[in-house]
């Protein structure tokens, strides 16, 4: 089994999780569109290139001094931040559409990879 394929699975999982979490945040924004004082929240897309680097075991910075800041990023799960903007339903609808599109893209790729592994196991046909 080629490890590269499994890494691809890992990254797709992360991507799918990110878009699922983003869906949660967008739903929260839509639900609170009429809540006074509520401002729209969002999460940052994890840097997939950086993630690939981490997966390969390189590109990770080390703390060599107590004054250094860590390179650890907050977990995707609860890393929402306040954008300071009011919730607009059209913006949320657009974000939701692009988000579910990206999710569909990830699942399609995931499925394709599975098919590829299946084919290689079966030896073609």
């Amino acid at each position: 089994m080629d490890l590269g394929t499994i890494k691809a699975f890992n990254m797709l999982e992360q991507k799918m999780m990110f878009h699922a979490n983003r869906q949660e945040v967008i739903s929260r924004n839509i639900a609170n569109a009429d809540t006074p004082g509520y401002r729209r929240r969002d999460i940052n897309e994890p840097e997939f290139k950086k993630m690939l680097g981490n997966n390969l075991g390189s590109l990770k910075m080390k703390l060599t001094d107590g004054n250094h800041m860590t390179t650890e990023t907050s977990p995707i799960n609860d890393g929402t931040h306040d954008t300071g903007k009011k919730v607009r339903l059209d913006v949320e609808a657009y974000e939701m559409m692009t988000n579910s599109g990206a999710y569909a893209q990830a699942t399609s790729t995931y499925k394709k990879l599975l098919t590829m592994i299946k084919d290689s196991v079966k030896g073609g046909n």
């Binding site: 999982e13 699922a20 869906q23 949660e24 929260r28 639900a31 569109a33 339903l89 995931y110 196991v121």
Partner: protein, 157 residues
């Protein structure tokens, strides 16, 4: 043998993915459902306001129906961990009542004025439209979540 290896490799991955995603998407749907409930409560309050826009008091100088306003709040549901929208409280509008000169009305005061509710029908119907739009937006959020879960399930086919 090869097939068994393949299955044992793929299934844990699939189960992990479906669990992780279903968690977030489920929570997003819970958020939207709570918002649907809150918005329908809002519509109920608006309907009460509109229905009572002419409800005066019964005795002389009695206060008529007072307009109700609803307050929403965004809080975390301890049971599911989802952020839900709930009704914080339903308060009364302190705005002044409308006075109309109707000396023969049983609720008229000494000067012949009757107090009418502080309900503005235009405002209420605009508010109703807004509630309706929010309701629709939440429904489309639920539909998107549903489509995403379907995509995940498709991986298992």
């Amino acid at each position: 043998m090869k097939k068994i290896c393949f299955l044992s490799l793929v299934f844990p991955v699939l189960l992990f993915v479906s669990n992780a995603e279903a968690g977030s998407i489920k929570r997003s749907m819970e958020t939207s459902v709570s918002a649907l409930k809150a918005q329908s409560k809002r519509m109920e309050i608006i309907a009460q306001n509109i229905a009572n826009y002419e409800t005066t008091g019964l005795t002389a100088n009695a206060d008529p129906y007072r307009r109700k306003v609803i307050f929403f709040e965004n809080r975390k549901d301890p049971k599911t961990g989802a952020n839900i929208l709930s009704v914080r409280r339903i308060a009364q509008d302190d705005a002044d009542f409308k006075l109309m000169y109707q000396p023969s009305h049983p609720a008229a005061n000494e000067e012949g004025y009757v107090k009418y509710p502080n309900v503005d029908r235009t405002l209420e119907s605009l508010d109703l439209k807004e509630a309706q739009r929010s309701y629709e937006a939440n429904i489309s959020a639920i539909e998107t979540g549903k489509a995403m879960i379907e995509r995940t399930l498709e991986l298992m086919r």
